[in-house]
Amino acid sequence: MVTIFTRPDSMFDTPTHYCPGCTHGVAHRLVAEVIDELGIKDKTVGVAPVGCAVLIYNYMNTDFVEGSHGRAPASATGIKRSRPDLVVYTYQGDGDLASIGAAEIVHAANRGEKITVVFINNAIYGMTGGQMAPTTLPGQKTTTSPKGRDVNHIGYPIRMAELLATLKTPGYIVRSSLHDPYHIAMAKKAIKQAFIYQLEGKAFSMVELLSTCPTNWGMTPYQATQWLKENMLQYYPLGVFKTPEDE
């Protein structure tokens, strides 16, 4: 009898506080599995965001710093520049990274900081109760856009991966999804590659993960994965947008 799948060592046994079916748990597990596989548990520092994942340090068995709202890349820059031997990653949501922290992420990417950013894009503000985020899809109903997002009034959603891929500084920018097992495997590959680029000291890396928020979307978890597949994948195409080898 061989155990082929179990909780990774880099995660504590604590049950998470997330709503049923929230893919934050999957994203935590993928990061923990990658840290285990690369054997960097003892020299990894994470930076926690403000958002649903604010309590991530209760679940991950690595060192953690709590960043101010949106300023996780700035905290990570400080850690990485003072201790280049450590592996530093931030774990941020879309309200944190794409809205209030847009300047920090753009400039961290532009300076080419050797950090890894795991960006969870679920098209809504989850923790505060389902308000409209910069990544909310056109026509999507939220508590602050009850008639659907009006693109003439608010504009179109931000595609952070494409935005950061336009920068000249080398970087590894990839978008993946968490709606079915195949894409979860692809997402894990992307996260692993992002950490490898950081270990090699090559480039800034960001992995955008399309994620679900069943509670605030008002769906069952399975319907939410199908909604993501039908709607979000049209607007946010998956793929690798930039690698350090590109010039």
Binding site: I4, R7, P20, Y182, P221, T225
Partner: protein, 77 residues
């Protein structure tokens, strides 16, 4: 034969594993767990092929998969 072990008190009853399973091994229980959710359980364990897709979808790391001998996989993980 593969063995799917579900920690029923970690389960939050999201049913993602039930939809992910290609062999329809899992179903939702009629009983409640300690958190008050209907948990998922393997009702047809003999059909399991050990693909670990249920465990990959589980957001709460409640599923553990054990196998004897050869492991069959749909894709590299």
């Amino acid at each position: 034969m593969p063995n799917v072990i579900i920690d029923k008190d970690r389960c939050k009853g999201c049913e993602l594993c039930v939809h992910a399973c290609p062999q329809k091994v899992l179903e939702m229980s009629k009983d409640l767990n300690v958190k008050g959710y209907f948990y998922s359980k393997p009702v047809h364990p003999h059909k399991c092929i050990g693909c670990t897709m249920c465990a990959m979808m589980c957001p709460d790391t409640a599923i553990k998969v054990e196998v004897y001998g050869t492991r069959y996989r749909y894709f590299a993980y």
